[in-house]
């Protein structure tokens, strides 16, 4: 067992960063992620880490500095939320396409407008196609664990892709949780020494980063990104998760399947809301309802085959999205789940629920309403309305 501590989510993130001990952090504050760097900068000031901390003038500069440092050969980490992540947007694509293993802790917060500082997933969903790996953490323990694993996942030679570790703003970032931390030595042994692929600072092997591609090369480089995420990243996420499990006793996979083996009705959900869903599953199960839940951890890459395998035999599935994709039949997670299930013979009916936007609370009673709807969907095979908003005042 590790050392038991009571940490807020942001503290857990900062602690993981301290133990990983990156070479460079360039960051800009934004609620609710600010404390990550406030705590980390205190570590720097106290000499607990020798990280080069670069306080920049904006999140666009933060991620740009991270890209430059990563290309130079440094291990690089940063943190942000919402508008900060949005301001990084163009450079996120560059970090991923340059195949730089940058780690970013994204404390999920709603994208403006209206201005809202509370949890929803619109920020990370807005960057879902930037080519980054996205891991969603249920709680502070997992945020801590995910960051440590993220180093190994992103730096793996078959992956070489930046990783965004998401944790819910305020709900997790500002809640104190009983959790366990590993020793500094264990974390250092797990992440290992970074061996950058082609550091700019290696003058004996000069390289060029960021050159122009014309029509004759761009698509080949993009095909490489698909190969890394499609073919290798899921496997590496699982391998690292198993290795982390051997070290810590907490084993991680691409998702957590909760009481799905013989389930008829299932809910797909990410992050902290999964807690309320699992509570609801337990209550329904004791009433004899065959309910189950899938808490997705790896949203990018999306584990379509694995998801089809565990959800394929259900009768009805509801996907809870903490972000919307206006103008489409449902939320963004819903779209991927439905696609994953499309080819399954006797596939389940799949419906979309949008919930919790702007920090609107989500409690077990809300999850029960979802399962009630699923009962109707399973009985009637009717999926209209395909997308519903949970807990909204008419």
């Amino acid at each position: 067992m590790g050392t038991i501590v009571g940490f807020m989510g942001n503290q857990a993130v900062a602690e993981a960063m301290r133990q990983i001990h990156p070479d460079v952090c360039a960051a800009y504050p934004i609620t609710p992620s600010t404390q990550v760097m406030e705590i980390y900068s205190q570590f720097v000031a106290d000499g607990k880490v020798s990280t080069e901390l670069v306080p920049v003038e904006s999140e666009h500069s933060a991620i740009s500095a991270c890209v430059g440092a990563a290309a130079a050969g440094a291990r690089v980490m940063t943190a942000t939320s919402a508008q900060g992540l949005a301001l990084m947007h163009e450079i996120l694509y560059i970090a991923a396409s340059m195949r730089l293993p940058i780690i970013l802790a994204n404390v999920n917060r709603a994208l403006s407008g209206p201005i809202n500082i509370h949890v929803d997933h619109s920020d990370s969903m807005g960057s879902r196609d930037a080519g980054w790996i996205q891991l969603y953490s249920e709680n502070a323990q997992e945020a801590y664990d995910n960051l440590i694993q993220a180093v190994r996942i992103s730096e793996h030679s078959d992956v070489l892709t930046p990783v965004m570790v998401c944790l819910d703003g305020f709900t997790i970032s500002h809640s104190i949780e009983r959790m366990e931390i590993l020793s500094d030595r264990e974390v250092q042994a797990f992440v290992g020494t970074y061996k950058p692929r082609s550091p700019l600072l290696d003058l004996d092997h000069p390289v060029t980063y960021g050159a122009l591609d014309l029509q004759d090369y761009y698509i080949e480089h993009k095909r490489q990104q698909r190969e890394a995420l499609d073919r290798h990243a899921l496997r590496v996420i699982r391998e690292v998760g198993a290795e982390f499990g051997a070290l810590s006793g907490r084993h991680y996979d691409v998702f957590e399947a909760y009481r799905l083996d013989d389930a008829e009705l299932g809910v797909v959900v990410m992050s902290s809301a999964a807690g309320a869903v699992k509570e609801s599953v337990d209550a329904l199960r004791s009433d004899g309802v065959r309910a189950g839940a899938l808490r997705l951890r790896a949203f990018r890459p999306f584990p379509a085959r694995e998801m089809a395998r565990v959800l394929g035999q259900l009768r009805a599935v509801a996907v809870l999205d903490r972000a919307d994709a206006f103008g489409t039949p449902g939320g963004p997670l819903f779209a991927d789940v439905r696609t994953a299930l499309f080819d399954v013979p006797n596939r389940p009916q799949v419906v979309s629920f949008i919930f919790g936007l702007g920090g609107r609370d989500f409690v077990p009673e809300d999850a029960e309403r979802v399962y009630d709807r699923l009962r109707t969907v399973a009985a009637t095979s009717q999926t209209e309305p395909m997308c519903e908003y949970l807990s909204v005042r008419a």
């Binding site: 390289v207 050159a211 490489q224």
Partner: protein, 119 residues
């Protein structure tokens, strides 16, 4: 890291991420063909102040032994900044339409020298 310039590599062989395992190979990409106007140097007026060298965005001003000898026409894009920044009392550089310059001074080469204006 494999790098085969004899063919267009496919996604299996290309270094990941658009990385080029060389430094400065942009030199091989000859942008001189983009030129519409060519800078012509009057050696008789040039004082080797190197202001044009400082401002040239393509590093296309050629100095040898601290003397201006001409332009790298493989890479000069004819932007005319050199002619614009050459001090008004000197005006050693003039921009000549490329076709005309080619007829007068020859084809693209590494350096072109203007003959001193016939006295």
């Amino acid at each position: 890291m494999g790098w085969d310039e004899s063919r267009k590599m496919g996604w299996h062989d290309l270094p990941a991420g658009g990385l080029i395992p060389l430094a400065g190979n942009a030199e091989k990409y000859k942008t001189g063909g983009w030129r519409t106007f060519r800078p012509i140097l009057d050696l008789g007026r040039c004082t080797d102040c190197a202001i044009c060298w400082f401002y040239c965005p393509d590093s296309a001003i050629v100095f040898r032994d601290e003397e201006m000898v001409g332009f790298d026409l493989d890479h000069c894009k004819g932007c005319g900044i050199c002619a614009a920044v050459c001090p008004p009392k000197i005006t050693a550089i003039s921009m000549v339409e490329e076709g005309e310059a080619s007829r007068q001074f020859g084809d693209l080469g590494v350096v072109t020298l203007a003959e001193k204006a016939a006295a």
